[in-house]
Amino acid sequence: MSFILILEQVLNGLQFGVMLFLMAAGLTLVFGVMGLINLAHGSLYMVGAFAAAAVAGLTGSFLLALIASLAAAAAAGALVEVTVIRRLYDRDHLDQVLATFALILIFSEGTRWLFGSFPLFLDVPAYLSGPVTLPFGIQYPLYRLAIIAIGLVVGAGLFWLIARTRIGVQIRAGEADREMIAALGVDISKLYTVVFALGAALAGLAGALVGAIQSVQVGMGEPVLILAFVVIVIGGIGSIKGALVGALLVGLTDTLGGVFLPRLFALMLEPADAASLGASLASMLIYILMAAVLLVRPSGLFGGSA
């Protein structure tokens, strides 16, 4: 159990956390401002990845692909908001769950109809590929460092937008009291479309960034969606700060748990059992973490209203 391996795993945890933050930020924003549960958020992640793969295939430029992922996801988000989501704001969570559950079906099979049934090619650009040696002699993929950097930059941008800009003021006011800002003459419907499209763009970017090192295929958004929900619940729904803390917590727990639990059990049980028991407990770990947090703080670490 070398020190270098532990450090490398912590970096992996951070990278996973940052990616989860991009997903969770949009989700918690949409719920915080509009009080809407959006199960189709994972589909926007997929739309971003597919758009990036398509543009990278045509133009060969990774930068254009990232821009395309932001644009495509934002456009898809805005379209869905105007046609469907707009009718759901005054409905209860039940109808929102069912409507967005239906959207998942439409997005998944629609994407498969357009792009075919096989995974798409999206690769790390040459200038970002290969490992780089960090202090303490750690060999770490440059691209993952890039993801951490991009994630933190986008995160800082989001905090700046929320804290400093006009839209930020409207978003925070909207979170506090939706009826009030309508009364104050803020064009509610435009604000909601912008917030929803912003959340979608963030998810699309996450999809594109991760798509380069994972598989761009139909249904890739779903496992990430569940993780994003776990993150915003731990962090406290509606709080961007909560989403960041929750994302890093889940990222580290999932990564380090997956590595150290099997070794922990290996001390007690013989290898084969330790490996499978460790692996199964590791996959349950984040759900145990979420249940524990909710029992101690029923509305998340930084949670406001339920």
Binding site: S117, F121, Q139, Q217, M220
Partner: protein, 383 residues
């Protein structure tokens, strides 16, 4: 264009079947195909169906009706469709299932109701051993075979300390058991990852620290793509060996140059030189505008096996038809094809290497991992 064509054909065939259902002409042979045609794993089902239909249409017989249904990779849907095909559409033969868990849900019940089941893919160990059945045939392989061949190849390539990895589910455990059955070297590590895991940074770090001399992994579908891309990007350049599932035609294009040079084991490749194989590859590419994958070859062989048996016996006379199937006198794309006592293939399993032809990634055979290899469960099977 090709999507619309296969879409139209599939609808035509199933509507034809539905209309034909009322007048169940005696002479007719009805085949029910249940496979995964929607969701993430749809690529495999589409390949098996396209390979199968290529052979059926080439035969141009009008006394065969094929009913195709999508199981959405859900066991209860597969069971529901199987019940309908057996109880209401009275099919004689069934095929198509890709995944082991769906196979376990459907096959025992189907064979118990006197329906022949020819598996074009899933080969769970239970159905090859204690719970084999006279009406059950597997045309592809038993799940462990490709992994056993990889173990044998590791010995030949004098790999002494390999790090092995698979998802934490039955097929994953079977895979590593199969590899260890043939592999005689040391194990630098044996880890099970979460099913559907997409980030392997933690595992790659463990490989780097384990001092292994090679890596053997079984990660089907999207899991394999993620692992290969992250492995190529991590700077760990230990040789990698895997089963064909992560290197077949549908997956290779999404992995790209990260897979170049990687050795993988398969019972089929497009460069096996026999007439049937060359014709199959050409016809498939002409009809579907893409290179066939090993799943397509398995679908194609399954159809030709049925056609050869129908030439010799009527499917209603079950014993005669079973004997015809066991004889397996058809020219398989894999060359000579014969069944073992438990109706699983006894065949060569080759070692392939990933190469690039133009802008298409594909494989070429470099060695034979195991020749005339039967599965390890045949002895437990008492038909």
């Amino acid at each position: 264009m090709k999507l619309l064509k296969s879409l139209a054909m599939a609808t035509a065939v199933s509507t034809l079947a539905l209309s034909a259902q009322t007048m169940a002409a005696q002479a007719e042979t009805k085949i029910g195909m249940i496979t995964t045609l929607s969701g993430g794993g749809a690529g495999l089902g589409v390949d098996v169906r396209d390979g199968f239909m290529l052979a059926i249409e080439a035969a141009g017989r009008d006394d065969i009706v094929v009913v195709i249904e999508d199981d959405q990779r859900k066991p209860e849907s597969a069971v529901q469709i199987a019940d309908r095909m057996i109880q209401s559409e009275k099919v004689d033969i069934m095929t198509g299932i890709i995944w082991s868990n769906l196979a376990m849900a459907v096959i025992p019940a189907a064979t118990a109701q006197d329906v022949f089941y020819l598996s074009p893919n899933a080969g769970p160990s239970a159905l090859a051993g204690k719970r084999c059945h006279k009406n059950y045939f597997n045309v592809a392989w038993q799940n462990d075979n490709l992994h056993e061949a990889a173990g044998a190849y590791a010995n030949d390539a004098s790999l002494k300390n390999s790090f092995i990895m698979a998802p934490n589910y039955p097929a994953g455990k079977d895979a590593l058991t199969g590899y260890k059955r043939m592999y005689s070297g040391e194990l630098a590590g044996e880890i099970y990852t979460k099913l559907g895991q997409t980030d392997y940074a933690a595992e790659i770090a463990q490989i780097r620290a384990s001092g292994a001399d090679s890596v053997y992994f079984f990660l089907p579908g999207g899991m394999g793509i993620s692992f290969l891309k992250q492995y190529a990007d991590s700077g760990v350049d230990l040789p990698v060996v895997g089963p064909a599932f992560s290197f077949d035609q549908g997956i290779l294009q999404a992995v790209g140059k990260a897979a170049l040079g990687i050795k993988n084991t398969s019972q089929w490749n497009k460069d096996i030189d026999n007439a049937a194989n060359a014709a199959f590859v050409a016809d498939f590419q002409a009809k579907y505008d893409r290179l066939p994958s090993l799943y397509a070859s398995q679908g194609f062989d399954t159809a030709n096996l049925i056609l050869s048996a129908l030439d010799k016996a009527d499917v209603k006379d079950q014993d005669a038809f079973r004997a015809a199937l066991e004889a397996a006198e058809f020219d398989s794309v894999r060359g000579d094809f014969k069944f073992g006592p438990n109706h699983h293939p006894v065949q060569n399993i080759y070692v392939r290497e990933v190469i690039q032809e133009g802008d298409i990634f594909t494989n070429k055979i470099i060695a034979t991992g195991l020749s005339n290899h039967a599965d390890a469960y045949a002895s437990e099977c008492k038909m």
